[in-house]
């Protein structure tokens, strides 16, 4: 088992004909992900190395039945592409695109919520995320798969490179991962820590969960509450941004500290208060995880 993507994944990619889109799609395919199609308006009928391209998500859904969508289109088109994939019935949408306006993300999130209330179920991961890797099964996104191997650690993170750093240290200690899920660093992510932790808690392969958070927002504090009430598996956390000055934005739109709430110290404290061990460095996180697994 793993979460969200595996050998049953049928992936289609919006923006497959772009430079980045085609590069990473083919990379995912080489890893073993079943890529069934791509979507680029106006380029229907073409193919990318044998992968058929469709004009719309509706056409792709009808012809090749994808159950997972990856979004690689430029920011101004991303929100509509996500919603179009959802309308076409794709269950999981993974949005890699960086720089989507916050208001668009808000519209997407609330539209998906409304449809969920009506019984229609599409899960969004991202945007502005590195994607998901289930080692040995499937890779959707830009996570460099060679640093990870299959195992029993579930990783959920707001940051890409930091995830690679932690995952690599766990791998060097001889352990692998069930799935690595990047939820992205934007203000309105489609899925939260809580959503993904719930999946890991219910996943047989996962025995330990690593949460990698950062300053800004309150997603880590909400995760702490959820873990205390619902999670029996051990959770180890890392928070980046202890030295970030207040009021300064550091790269991720989500990583802005204003006032006292949302600081790294407040987040670490909230997690520790609920019994989650917090490593002070990525190395220490891996060490704690490894000790708990042995």
């Amino acid at each position: 088992m793993s979460v969200l993507i595996d050998e049953n994944t049928r992936l289609a990619v919006a923006g497959i004909t772009g430079r980045e889109g085609s590069f990473h799609t083919l990379n995912n395919q080489r890893y073993g992900t079943n890529v069934v199609g791509g979507v680029t308006p106006g380029k229907g009928g073409q193919d990318v190395e044998g992968i058929p391209v469709f004009n719309s998500w509706a056409e792709a859904a009808e012809s090749v039945q994808p159950n997972t969508a990856m979004i690689f289109v430029p920011p101004r088109f991303a929100a509509d592409s996500i919603l179009e994939a959802a309308t076409a019935g794709v269950e999981l949408v993974i949005a890699i695109t960086e720089g989507i306006p916050a208001h668009d993300e808000l519209r997407v999130y609330n539209t998906l919520e409304r449809e969920r209330a009506g019984g229609h179920c599409t899960r969004l991961i991202g945007p502005n995320c590195p994607g998901i890797l289930s080692p040995g099964k499937a890779n959707v996104g830009i996570i460099p798969a060679s640093f990870f191997k299959e195992g029993n650690v579930g990783v959920v993170s707001r940051s890409g490179t930091l995830t690679y750093q932690i995952g690599n240290e766990i791998a060097q200690a001889g352990f692998g991962c069930s799935s690595i899920v990047g939820i992205g660093g934007d203000p309105v992510p489609g899925s939260s820590f809580v959503d993904v932790i719930e999946l890991f808690e219910n996943d047989e392969q996962t025995e330990l969960i690593v949460l990698s958070g950062e300053i800004g927002g309150s997603a880590e504090e909400e995760a702490a509450e959820y873990i205390a009430a619902h999670v029996r598996k051990p959770v180890v956390a890392y928070i980046a941004g202890f030295t970030a000055p207040a009021g300064k934005q550091m790269g991720h739109a989500g990583a802005i500290v204003s006032g006292s709430a949302g600081t790294a110290a407040a987040k670490a404290q909230a997690l520790e208060a609920k019994g989650v061990r917090v490593g002070r460095t990525p190395t220490e996180v891996a060490e704690i995880a490894v000790t708990q697994l042995r």
Partner: protein, 383 residues
């Protein structure tokens, strides 16, 4: 992207919110002609992106020309918590019967717009929220429906606005929501929202943050922001499309990915060092970008040593090494560098660096080791 008060007020006016007429000026003479046009008494307001300007003496009332000259002369060039005043907003002084508070912001936790209103305006709103939370009305809006006038009337009524200005406050809330929505703002705040003796509802101040990611929809807003008061290196970084934040230490930091760079700052601080900056070279950095980044790092004279922390995903370590070697040929840095390369093509990257044998460049195996080395080098001068 934070706007100055007058820039925010101009957006307010565009959406039908009442503001006093005024002019933004940069000289005493222009302040005088602005006041003559508007009519005395006027308020002289320093335009800086920092709170507490009233207490710092940056907001003054002038009844006539001599007073105006005195205040404008004093305030222009004044330093308010590290921000130099270069622009004054001159507006006609308003008579005030009551001071309210209103804002619309993106509530990340609820993932909805949040409208807030209070009759306790003109003071620090966080204090009102803490001490008398019942006096701060919080109302979440369905972003797919928008804020209806009926909702706005209810907010004003629940907040106990004076009965004769419920309509005026509701109008202001609807207009403020429109500013937030149509200008792609993440925050639109009025404190104070005043009621005049004539029972007019007006925005006396503004605090607006726009979403930089949405500027492609608003070409007219692209020139806003307080670029003159930005740190010169930060401004250059922005022009070059590099994520750079200046800090007050002496260790230059470069990494790829915001999370990893933040983590690197922390690890350096834990090793006893003080980072001089945050610099995210971004995913897929090529040699040219790395060279540009080294230039930016060294533009800060306080930097005594530099740490390169790269974990290559899309970024290829051999490209980073090539960029660093090219940068050394051009710039010839006088401070020591510690370089840690891991990830995609790391073996090739390390080999390139070793062969180039750059002066004063030290290779580190891990992030922690790299942090300890750079802290020691910064403390020991030339290393």
């Amino acid at each position: 992207m934070d706007l100055l008060e007058y820039q925010g007020k101009q957006l307010f006016a565009r959406h039908g919110l009442r503001v006093s007429s005024g002019h933004a000026v940069t000289t005493v003479e222009d302040a005088v002609s602005a006041a003559e046009e508007i009519g005395y008494p006027v308020v002289v307001k320093a335009q800086v992106l920092i709170g507490g300007r009233g207490k710092a003496g940056g907001v003054k009332l002038a009844a006539g020309e001599s007073e105006l000259r005195e205040h404008a002369t004093n305030i222009l060039g004044m330093d308010i918590h590290g921000h130099t005043v270069r622009t004054l907003w001159i507006e006609h002084a308003s008579d005030i019967a009551s001071e309210y508070y209103a804002s619309v912001l993106l509530d990340r936790s609820a993932k909805k717009p949040l409208v807030m209103f209070s009759v306790e305006g003109g003071v620090d709103i966080e204090e009102v929220a803490e001490k008398t939370p019942e006096k701060l009305i919080r109302h979440h809006v369905d972003p797919l429906a928008g804020l209806s006038r009926a909702e706005a009337v209810k907010i004003a009524t629940d907040g106990k606005a004076d009965a004769d200005v419920i309509d005026g406050v509701a109008d202001a809330l609807v207009a403020l929501y429109e500013v937030w929505l149509e200008e792609d703002a993440t925050l639109a705040e009025i404190n104070p929202l005043i009621v005049t003796p004539e029972r007019e509802v007006k925005a006396l101040d503004s605090k607006v943050s726009l979403d930089g990611n949405a500027l492609f929809r608003h070409p007219e807003n692209q020139g806003l922001s307080d670029s003159e008061n930005e740190d010169p290196i930060e401004r250059r970084a922005k022009e070059e499309g590099v994520q750079y934040v200046k800090l007050d230490g002496d260790i230059g930091i470069l990494g790829n990915g915001a999370g990893l760079v933040m983590s690197t700052l922390d690890v350096v601080a834990q090793a006893g060092g003080r980072p001089a900056n945050f610099l995210d070279a971004g995913g897929g950095s090529n040699a040219e970008k790395i060279k540009q980044a080294v230039d930016l790092l060294l533009a800060n004279d306080a930097v005594k040593a530099v740490l390169f922390n790269i974990f290559g995903g899309i970024t290829r370590c051999d490209e980073v090494a090539t960029g660093l070697i090219a940068a050394f040929e051009d710039i010839k840095p006088s401070v020591p560098f510690v370089v840690r390369l891991d990830g995609t093509n790391d073996v090739e990257g390390r080999r390139l660096l070793q062969e180039a044998a750059l002066p004063n460049v030290h290779a580190a195996k891990t992030m922690n080791e790299a942090a300890e080395m750079v802290v020691a080098l910064a403390a020991g001068g030339q290393g």
